[in-house]
């Protein structure tokens, strides 16, 4: 009898212990997994913003370097769009502008092409023609690129400002 009673008592405590331990374990596992998933998304978000920003900068600098002249903004002025006089007649003029947060380029009479994907938005785009007299010209551009985040979630909250300048050659 004594022996049986003792065994039952131990089993119950053991059971409670096991349950509480597995719950604790599950809780920790769930949290860690959640943290990893959230972190992975945040990582993707940061990479997306940085990469898309660089893509825009590279498009702009390549076009400006190879351009013949700057149509607008004119010397000493700023604008939210850039129009370049380029050598290839079919691509003349090449215009960069913003349409509801999407950076676009149009070459000659071709229809506009989006430069960025739908996961990011560009704002506060500005081009400054800072050319000195009697020079081929130089354009400074700056813009803010933000990851789309309609639900206001932490992991999608990332935004950066890009500054750059390119001289015509």
């Amino acid at each position: 009898m004594k022996k049986i009673n003792r065994k039952k008592g131990i089993t119950l405590i053991e059971l409670l212990l096991y349950i509480s331990m597995s719950m604790l374990f599950l809780y920790v596992i769930t949290n860690v997994t959640g943290f990893f998933i959230e972190g992975r998304i945040k990582n993707q978000t940061i990479a997306e913003v940085e990469q898309q920003g660089l893509v825009v900068v590279q498009f702009l600098s390549q076009s400006i370097r190879n351009a013949e002249g700057i149509n607008s903004p004119i010397q000493g002025n700023s604008d939210d769009a850039l129009s370049l006089d380029v050598f290839t007649p079919a691509d003349d003029p090449t215009v960069y502008d913003l349409s509801s947060g999407v950076m676009q380029v149009s070459e000659g009479s071709s229809s506009t092409v989006d430069l960025i994907n739908g996961r990011v938005t560009i704002s506060d785009l500005s081009f400054d023609n800072l050319s000195k007299d009697n020079t081929p010209g130089v354009v400074r551009y700056q813009f803010i690129i933000t990851h789309n985040n309609s639900e206001g979630r932490f992991e999608y909250n990332y935004s950066k400002t890009f500054y750059g300048s390119t001289s015509l050659r």
Binding site: V32, L130, S165
Partner: protein, 408 residues
Amino acid sequence: MKKELSNIKIKGFSVVEMLLSVAILSLLVTSLVGVFIFGEESTVLSGDRARASVWAEEGLEAVRNIRDNDFTNLVDGTYGIATSSNEWIFSGSSDSIGKFTREVIVASVDDDRKQITSNVTWQQTTSRAGSVSLVTYLTEWQAVVVSDLVVDVANASLGGGNKKLEGITIENQGIDDLIIDKITVSWNNGEGIEEIKIDGTSVWKNNGAGTPDGTQSSGVQLDIEDFTLAVIDGVLDITNFNFSGSMDGEVFTILFEMTNGTTAEVTVDLSGGGGPTCGTESDTLTIATNGASVGGGGSKELQGVTVQNTDTSCDITIDKITVIWGNGNDIEEIKVENSRIWKHNNEGSPIGKQPTGTEIDVVDYIITAGNIDTFNKFKFDGNMSGDTFNITFEMLDGSTKSTGNFTP
């Protein structure tokens, strides 16, 4: 006792096991989380670095535009860049945006080349600084407008009742043909130009070839009938420039403009019948030794000998110098107006330290008309205190002048 002990033993063991497993699990989780956080931080840092590079490049591009405006804008130094009146300018010693700080360093490679370095630094974590450094080289490409057209005016003279400027020759010393597009002639009197003939061909005439029509006054750009000057043509005569009256005693400036954008300008000075007549060079050279002294480290230098060109229109060129002194030291170096004209292992000849009385062929030194130039030093390889010197200068025309013996 035995049973109790064994019971306690079993219970105690399972608690230790549990603690151990929790500890191992937490260690594992902590390290995994650490790795993950580190990875995320890396993504952020690489983003910072990419944007810093773009911003550093802006520094180079801005300097490029400043160069495009004028190469002389690039003065060696460390600068920040800024905009003023909507133009890029150098400003201060650095500039900042957000956490990034930028400095642009301009350094000379040679007269026509500059090395531009754009450094961007930032604090990437509390303990580590990030930096990006971009380098480019900028050249004064616009400076190379030296024309292949060589104009020789040494034999220029007036003929045909002093109405014709003759004896000027042109030569194409380049590789490609040159096309002379425009000629502008300037002079002082009130006469007009009527015709230009090159190699017997009339390329501009008041009632013929080229534009504008009519006799033209000084300084008018004459669009001549394009004259092609091939390399194989060698030296060609500009037969003459015909004027409406006597051009005796005039000073002409002639500007040739080629179709490739290069220009060549020459001055023909016929005032005083073909340029100023210069006398014997030594006649207008005055040497002063009263300000001379022996000094420098170890009293090895004779300093402060001055030479004056008393002529107001002719230069004097010093070709050779002979120095005589008393002791057995050798001469090492001669320096005038901070330019070295002879050194035993460098400029001029002969090579090697020279004893007293040696004729030294220095790098030709021109004393401009009216100037007083000072010899910084005649340097010897030993103490020259109390010695007596005698310096003889030989000019390019062969004339000589000596100081006579003097003891500084």
